[in-house]
């Protein structure tokens, strides 16, 4: 690893607790460090301040880190697999599957499906089912480009069905679905953080084993094969990890836009390398930093206006993606 990479990664690592601190304390209600300490070690649920820390601030922070990192990693995997800087974690259509499941559930009018646990369950099932569908296709397609096209078509198809569902539903159900689609880091419960963290760590863990084949993959699929990389198996593992990470985030947060698209590109530009060890670490850190920053902004705006997280990630992310496109065409 180059010196430049080391320095940047260390800076990012140091920034993480700094931004985390801001994230925990910028909320409208003032909390003291005693509140934080007690919330973790001497918890008493009758104290509103501690309650806020445990039930609201901590889950929100952890979710921001997990979601930001996961989406960035997934985006990186997709961009290397398809050799396309505009590929994001949702490009395989897995997210569309989660969306469709949630749409079917909320627009069915059955109140169970609109509940916190209902939405999570639906999104997970949707992501899983579509993950398998995409996996199935990946066994038959000749190359990754075909798979990309299949994914995009799946995405279009499910979008069309979701639109249809929206037109025939009542205003109330529609509102639930629409709000889910805006993304939220606040729906996650403290009790769910445990399992989320486990799968997050699993996803990262297995991603490390992909570093070597990903490095070779930049040469193209044929060249990788000739270097002994089992491309077909690699494709499968990448899809599984992407589905796991992106599906996890979508299930607990709804679809969060632009992070998976912008951050991997930012990393490439910042680190100027194709070395996936550096890129992986970079995406983990920068993804988390980015989403925490966006959520700090959301909290900062709270006294004036309640803004969904997607609004912020889009406002920041979209211009950046345009910038990437322009730079590439230059």
């Amino acid at each position: 690893m180059e010196k430049r990479h080391r320095i940047l990664l260390i800076i990012a690592l140091v920034l993480l607790p700094v931004l985390a601190y801001f994230h925990l304390t910028i909320g409208q209600i003032q909390l003291s460090s005693a509140d934080f300490y007690n919330a973790v070690f001497n918890y008493s649920d009758s104290e509103t301040a501690q309650l806020l820390v445990r039930e609201f601030r901590l889950p929100r922070l952890i979710m921001a880190i997990v979601a930001g990192s996961s989406l960035a990693i997934a985006g990186m995997l997709m961009q290397t697999l398809f050799n396309n800087p505009l590929a994001g974690p949702y490009v395989l259509g897995i997210n569309s599957g989660a969306s469709l499941a949630v749409a079917l559930g909320t627009l069915s009018g059955i109140s169970m499906f609109s509940s916190n646990i209902g939405l999570i369950g639906l999104a997970l099932i949707g992501a899983l089912v579509f993950g398998f569908i995409v996996l199935g296709f990946s066994l038959f397609v000749r190359n990754s480009l075909s798979l990309l096209l299949v994914g995009i078509m799946i995405g279009s198809f499910t979008s069309a069905i979701t639109s249809l569902l929206q037109t025939i539903s009542s205003a109330d159900s529609l509102k639930v679905f629409t709000i889910w689609g805006m993304g939220s880091l606040q729906q996650v419960e403290l009790s769910q953080i445990g399992i989320i963290t486990v799968f997050f760590i699993l996803g990262i863990f297995f991603s490390f084993f992909l570093i070597k084949p990903l490095n070779a993959l930049v040469l193209g699929e044929n060249a990788s094969l000739l270097l002994g990389v089992p491309v077909k198996n690699l494709r499968i593992i990448i899809i599984v990890i992407t589905a796991l990470l992106a599906g996890l985030v979508t299930a607990f947060c709804g679809p969060i836009a632009f992070v998976g698209l912008a951050i991997p590109n930012l990393c490439k530009m910042l680190f100027k390398t194709q070395q996936h060890l550096v890129l992986l670490l970079g995406n983990i850190l920068l993804g988390a930093l980015f989403l925490i920053s966006c959520d700090i902004l959301v909290q900062g705006l709270e006294p004036f206006i309640l803004v969904p997280i997607n609004v912020i990630t889009s406002i920041v992310g979209a211009p950046f993606v345009i910038f990437i496109i322009l730079k590439r065409l230059a």
Partner: protein, 368 residues
């Protein structure tokens, strides 16, 4: 002394004559207006017909003008639609419309409803089942053919700002489309007063006035009693959708009901139209000592917890002081608008049970 008797006689005569028409006279102001409280419609007695004005929800400009009469008047004022009364076939798309018609025993004039699942009125459910009234679907999706099939004279829909679908074609075919803005009324009596609209439409003017006056008296009586109460418990209303808690603003219909029932609405000092939005953190910190939580929109504490586990942190929830009309939701949506005095009774029973005359609920129940 001889000239005193005729004067006395005529005075008495006039007094009696005025007395019998006292109800009618009280409701007609100098300009012939029939409406006291409602701010979004006007009924004005003119020579030989009644003018109906529906006022825009936001700026109160007149957006719909109609003339109600048994026959087309010789000179129909410009831009006024003629509605021949009594209307015998009407499409009523919202619950409030149905509730008001039922109070007037005018359900037999309903030939179209939105969705049978939202109905509570038994007579109307039977009519829908037997085909006398057609199920038309949600407003955005009503097929024109269904409307034509209903052979309605009048379509009453809740106007939230968007025009009724296919309005131009339907008007050409002879349907009259009446925008109902009762949802916008902030005064409970103003909302209930819309019963007069239906009264005038279906030829039961006097009944509608009589019914409204009775409701008005009962309501104002209760309100006056509660004005004298000094200890007012704090109340929060509304619920989360996603991350945002939507609560009525301080001037709204719900806020007024709470206040008239002797409650202290926590957000009584907010301004503006529409709901106010709060984050869950704000709700928790601003309602640490709020006694009651009304209108969460669910039937049980279990449902609420499943919906969003964070809601069980609301102190009123933990103290079992959550109340809602969820036992019979459709019934509430149909009748609460036209019977605000019954809603007031319920709220008084919640906030000041020791002062309530009736010890049973009309609409509400405690959420367990």
């Amino acid at each position: 002394m001889k000239w005193k008797s005729p004067i006395l006689f005529f005075s008495l005569l006039i007094a009696v004559a005025c007395g019998s028409n006292s109800t009618y006279k009280k409701t007609i102001s100098k300009e012939g207006k029939i409406i006291e409280f409602a701010e979004h419609f006007e009924l004005i007695q003119d020579s030989g017909f009644v003018r109906l004005h529906i006022l825009d929800a936001e700026n109160k400009s007149i957006k719909f003008k109609a003339v109600l009469a048994k026959k087309v008047p010789s000179s129909l004022p410009k831009d006024y639609v003629f509605i021949q009364t009594p209307v015998k076939r009407m499409i009523a798309l919202s619950s409030t419309h149905i509730g008001m018609l039922s109070k007037l025993e005018g359900i037999n004039s309903v030939v179209g409803v939105s969705n049978q699942n939202y109905l509570d009125n038994k007579e109307l459910i039977d009519r829908t089942k037997s085909g006398k009234a057609i199920e038309l679907g949600d407003e955005g999706m009503i097929p024109m053919e269904s409307i034509v099939r209903s052979q309605a004279e009048l379509i009453v829909f809740s106007d939230f700002g968007n025009p009724f679908p296919h309005a131009a074609q339907l008007t050409k075919l002879g349907f009259t489309i009446l925008p109902n803005v009762d949802w916008r009324e902030e005064q409970p009596l103003g909302k209930a007063e819309w019963i007069k609209l239906y009264g005038y439409l279906i030829g039961k003017e006097k009944e509608s006035i009589k019914i409204f006056n009775s409701i008005k008296e009962k309501y104002l009586e209760l309100k006056q009693e509660m004005k004298l109460v000094s200890k007012r418990p704090s109340v929060i209303s509304g619920n989360l959708i996603g991350d945002i808690w939507y609560a009525p603003n301080g001037k709204s219909y719900n806020a007024q009901l709470i206040s008239d029932a002797g409650g202290e609405y926590v957000y009584a000092k907010t301004e503006g139209t529409g709901s106010i939005m709060r984050s869950m953190e704000q709700i928790l910190s601003e309602n640490r000592s709020t006694k009651f939580w009304i209108n969460p929109g669910f039937k049980s504490k279990q449902e609420i917890t499943v919906y969003n586990p964070k809601l069980k942190l609301v102190p009123a929830f933990q103290n079992n002081q959550v109340y809602c009309y969820s036992a019979r939701m459709n019934y509430f949506w149909e009748m609460s608008a036209v019977e605000p005095h019954l809603v007031l009774e319920d709220l008084i029973l919640i906030f000041h049970p020791e002062l309530a005359k009736k010890k049973t609920f009309n609409f509400y129940s405690r959420i367990n």
